[in-house]
């Protein structure tokens, strides 16, 4: 294992460096999703007819996915709690439940999209669908990235090492959850 620079261990702002960096990651992601969703809202308000398009999304799939992500956020924060109590293996196990939640989310999404594409609603079917696939797709890419990073964190956490990373990846995961909390009504409910 390479040695860590002294710089990484300093904490002048009294927030651990890893967590501070994660807050900045969230700050930059906020404007990415904020920009995309802001544009979607503008377009949606301009095209009242999109409500008819949106009627073709499955509210139950969306609601179920929301439930799945909320539950995975629960396991993520419980993982953090375990890490605070220096119980690395338990934290790793809870992180794996979180990854499972993310996996279920992606599988449901895959079924959803397959069904919609079979019905003829592709990304070029209309501007609503372009936004639908782009926004949900960008979100899904972040879910996937989160699962991968979480997997790596769980490996070191299981050995009781680098436990502070459990909290940091948890914060990222909660952010992904929050984005979906807004995507759900925007894409599924407003009909």
């Amino acid at each position: 294992m390479t040695s860590r620079p002294i710089a990484t261990t300093r904490s002048v702002m009294e927030v651990p460096t890893g967590r501070l960096a994660m807050w900045w990651v969230l700050a930059s992601e906020t404007v990415v999703f904020g920009g995309l969703l802001g544009v979607y809202v503008m377009m949606r308000l301009r095209h009242g007819a999109w409500a008819d398009e949106a009627a073709n999304t499955s509210t139950w799939a969306g609601a179920f996915n929301t439930l799945v992500l909320l539950t995975s956020s629960l396991s993520a924060v419980l993982a953090h709690q375990a890490a605070e109590r220096a119980d690395g293996p338990k934290a790793a196990r809870l992180l794996r439940y979180t990854m499972l939640g993310g996996g279920v989310f992606l599988v449901v999404k895959a079924f959803e999209w397959t069904h919609e594409i079979r019905e003829g609603f592709t990304i070029t079917s209309g501007l609503f669908w372009s936004f639908y696939y782009t926004a949900a797709g960008l979100h899904a890419a972040h879910v996937l990235a989160g699962i991968i990073v979480m997997f790596i964190v769980s490996l070191t956490a299981a050995r009781n090492e680098e436990l502070q990373r459990v909290e940091n990846i948890g914060i990222y995961w909660h952010f992904v959850d929050v984005v979906w909390i807004f995507l759900f009504p925007l894409l599924y409910i407003a009909k």
């Binding site: 807050w23 904020g34 503008m42 301009r46 095209h47 398009e53 909320l70 019905e119 909290e167 952010f175």
Partner: protein, 116 residues
Amino acid sequence: MTQRAHAGAPPHAETNYVAIWGVLCGLLAVSVLGPMAGVRILTLITAFGIAIVKAYIVCSYFMHLNIEKRWVAYILGFMLALMLVFFGGVAPDVLEHEGLRWQRTYVAPVTSGSER
């Protein structure tokens, strides 16, 4: 490296995360049932108002923003405020169907996915 597990974390009382999760699920149920009533203003409040409440709860209790240093919340708030500026500056152009000195001649295509 267990002693670095929560370096810098302020001491906080044990939060009942499962209870908070329960509240979130309840809010989710309301936000799904609300639009079924068919009343537009109710839909907006339950769908979007509840989304804001849920996001606030996740940010406060799961991300621990409620006990984090204040300036972290300010940084995130600043980014959100910028999105409002963005919306405010762009909406007058993108939102409007009619202009002061121009007419809209574009006709919306018939909306049906299977026709493409």
